[in-house]
Amino acid sequence: MNDIVEGLLHALRLIVTLDGDLVEITLRSLRVTLTATAIASLIALPLGALLAVRRFRFRRATIAILNALMGLPPVVVGLIVYILFSRSGPFGVLGLLFTPTAMIIAQVIIIVPLITSIAHQALRDIWAEYHDLLISLGASGRQRVATLIWDGRRSLITAGLAGFGRGIGEVGAIMVVGGNIDHVTRVLTTAIALETGRGDFALALGLGFVLIGLAVSVNLIIHSLSGTEVGSRW
């Protein structure tokens, strides 16, 4: 219990003193995960809309698999990305291993299924509402997707935030592909894992609280900017 209190104090101290290392790894966490979230959203939102709009043969299986992939074990993703980008792997020449770029790639793979699934669920309901109208108006596939994304933007923000949350708290994959190199690829979660391994629970918890605070702030900021959950309906 003391550890938890100490962790909170630690977090406070680190934040109040604007500890240099903390600022560095926090900014790196943010940069990696925000980039990954942006890229993943660009892939996942249209995909989710497409799954809502299109009726094809293996749609149900695709959706089930997508749901399952929400649980893609991060370590496995990390391993696969590692193998692909290892010097002896197919993309080895790019020299991306143990760089933030590799971490972004791994996070994109992990969060795309999550964002797609949540987006699909939200857009499916809007599609049920709009179906007749959009078909009747002869909207093209691309226009249907664009309309759903625009009219469902508030729910899609939630989907993106879920992806951000998953990414920022993730450690298994980025540890393998990033290597937790001090000043290069160390982020909040890998630092937490490091301190846990050293038995310094107070510091680990302190970093953990910083991480949670960061996630909460990003959510609050985005929610208040986008005005979700304000109106009762729409």
Partner: protein, 238 residues
Amino acid sequence: MVGSVFPMTASGAVVRRGGQRLLGPIDLRLDGSGVTVIIGPNGSGKTTLLRLLHGLERCREGRVDWAVDRDSALSRQAFVFQTPIMMRRTVRENLVYPLRLRGASRADIAEKGDAWLKSVDLAAAGLQRASTLSAGERQKLSIARALIAAPELLILDEPSANLDSRSTREIERILTEQNKAGTRIIMATHDMGQARRLGDHVIFMLNGLVHEEGPAERFFKGAQTDAGRAFLAGDIVE
């Protein structure tokens, strides 16, 4: 636009859902002028028939053909739904959405938007969310949205169910005007007065089938079938 959707024909068209036959077999041939009104008791299949003719409902047996392919046919028609479907947008954005789909110019969109908002008495409500409109206002918006892209064929499902008498008259005036200007109209209605005022041609539906069909004048003067006469008299039709 080159070509026309007319004549449109249904031959032996059947609509099923959940193993049950909702409609048909329907054999119909509609050509390119006038106003067809579809009447019949609740649940007799009027909405389903309109959707079939529009291309929204695919038939399992038989077929529906337009003079052009289904996609072109859809794009030359507009449908006013019995329960208006409002997008999660403002009144104005709902209204001009068909123009946006067609990639109309900003100026065109602004101009037509203003004109139609005014003609259905919603000028003051342009920036309101469509979901806040009253039922009658939604119906009017839905009709304006259907007309804004100048369709060749306009299909309406009970367009004045929630309208006050003045709005009903106004909408009827607009429809008559459009029809004179060349827009073909097919509509379902429960308002026999409206059917008489607007219809050139009547389709009387019963139990998912076209029970009687013919010129409006003849039908309203003296329906050929017992059920038709009973329906006009407001009696039980089974």
